[in-house]
Amino acid sequence: MRRIGLKNLDRYLLVFVVAVSLNFLLPRLMPGNPLALIAGVDVGLMTPDERAEIITAVGLDEPLLTQFIDYWKAVLTFDLGFSYKSGRPIVEMITERLPWTLLITVGSLMVSAVIGIVLGGWSAWRRGKKTDLSMLTGMISLQSLPSFWLGMLLISVFAVQLGWFPSFGAETPASSYEGMARVGDILEHAILPIVTLTVLSIPGVYMTMRYSMLEVLGSDFIRTARAKGASERRVLFGHVARNAIAPVVTFLAIRFAFAFGGSVIIETVFSYPGLGRLIFEAVSGRDYPVMQAAFLVFTVAVIVANLVADLLYPVLDPRMRVE
């Protein structure tokens, strides 16, 4: 039993190595000079000596291989360095940002899991009927919504026009809210981003659940359950739903990874101070270390999500257990 879920470990390791290497190489392959960011806006007004000094200070003059090795060392010791742009320790920047991204992604994932599973289950149960078909069509349509556009519309309507929710940020700036008031404030800010992410996640959960349910509904053991005299309800909850849930969990892990990455867009639209915005800012600002670190955190988060799914799967489906 100890091997549960770790069968993919080598695969994740490979992903990690690729991500770290990519991470290191891509920014360096990009055209442009990182100096502008290190020295601030007025780099052009510095003397060549001053510039050289800065380049040496951040190690950009080292051979690429040395930089690469140093990079690995740093990654493995969680020393993510300092931002070129702000000079702040990146670990600190990331620990600041990560909770916000987790809040909206995990929040939306939970909401969409509940809604998606319920709707998908219901839809499958009534397969071929009107409810099923209209729900199905609706979900395909939702899937086709551009995320940022949805966010923009939500801001236009609910923040600007109606003023129900704040339009930006994770908290009321400089508020001195404490305790529940602060929680309320945070939730209020998180609602629109969570709604956007949720709307985008529901169709996938719904589809997975529905298909998984249909698969289970068509299987022989459902007939066995009925032959035992189990009521439809019991069949639905005791057998169908229980068996259908395993693929949904896997999907949720993938969806989490996707939503986590998708936070780049949502956080930009909502000016939400999460990791997604950090990576976007870093990319457009060529803040190598920050971009690398953020991408790394994304990768690790995705790997962790997959690992969790791998660990959960055998719990939900005993066939996956390895003795």
Partner: protein, 283 residues
């Protein structure tokens, strides 16, 4: 001993799926026609400044004008060209990559397949959007790069689906039979595997178009596409960068291109859905 199970024959596509597919097809055709006949349909040249900037809708400009006085309706109509092209071409890139890898990995599951699938896994697990952004930023802004980046990142999913199909086809007895006749792998792949995978591949291709259209829009919106190409995404980029969605202009500047993206993506998604239902009816 294997049990003989009777198959009721391939279940024909359920009516509803078919109908949804037709709706999707109509949507796509309308958009394609719009793209093809854009010069006839559009009231103005979308690159020309034909009015004052930031005009609300009027008789001359049904959707008003953008920040430099270009006609938004014309931009919208011409936008179909870029958005559809990017979607379709990126999907073709993905299709070629995905099918090649999927077929090879499925037909040679041992060493080659393992290596290929490992790379697929890596691509699938890597955080998609951040990677897309990093890549797009690296390659710079041009239509071609957008296409390549999207195509190169979305093939992995389909290739997996195709691989599992090929994997099962490969051990179908008619493929084995052709091998016992002394047919080379090429024969089995070309005569038996590819034709049987075509429908599935087409289905995933159509879905990929839907995905690619959304991705193009997202990239353009983030300013990582070419903002000077008139695509729906770039219209939204301009709307965003000139603050239109905070003003009443969102109704004619933000709403229509978003709807177009949705319609295009939806059209392809519906067709893909209908095709998938045909392959594996679950309605």
């Amino acid at each position: 001993m294997k049990l003989f199970t009777r198959r009721p024959g391939r279940r024909p596509t359920p009516k509803v799926a078919k109908r949804l597919g037709i709706v999707g097809g109509v949507m796509i055709s309308a958009l394609v026609l719009m793209a093809v006949f854009a010069p006839l349909l559009a009231p103005y040249d979308p690159t020309e400044r034909v009015g004052a900037p930031f005009q609300p809708p009027s008789a001359e400009h049904w959707l008003g004008t953008n920040d430099v006085g270009q006609d938004l309706l014309s931009e919208l109509i011409y936008g179909a060209r870029v958005s559809l092209t990017v979607g379709i071409v990126a999907a073709i890139v993905a299709l070629i990559l995905g099918t090649t890898v999927g077929v090879l990995a499925g037909y040679y599951p041992k060493r080659l397949g393992k290596v290929l699938m490992q790379s697929v896994d890596v691509i699938l697990i890597l955080p998609f959007l951040p990677l897309l952004i990093v890549l797009a930023a690296y390659l710079g802004r041009s239509l071609l790069n957008t296409i390549v980046v999207i195509g190169v990142l979305i093939w992995a999913g389909p290739s997996r689906v195709i691989r599992s199909q090929v994997l099962s086809l490969r051990s179908r007895e008619y493929v084995l039979a052709s091998r016992t006749m002394g047919a080379p792998d090429r024969w089995a792949i070309v005569r038996h595997v590819l034709p049987r995978t075509a429908l599935l591949a087409t289905g995933t291709f159509v879905r990929a178009v839907s995905t690619a259209i959304l991705l193009e829009a997202a990239l353009s919106f983030l300013g990582l596409g070419d903002p000077l190409q008139k695509s729906w995404g770039s219209i939204l980029f301009w709307a965003q960068s000139r603050g239109a969605f905070l003003t009443p202009a969102w109704k004619w500047w933000v709403l229509p291109p978003g709807l177009m993206i949705m319609i295009a993506s939806l059209g392809f998604a519906l067709v893909a859905f209908a095709m998938e239902e045909r392959i594996n009816p679950r309605l």
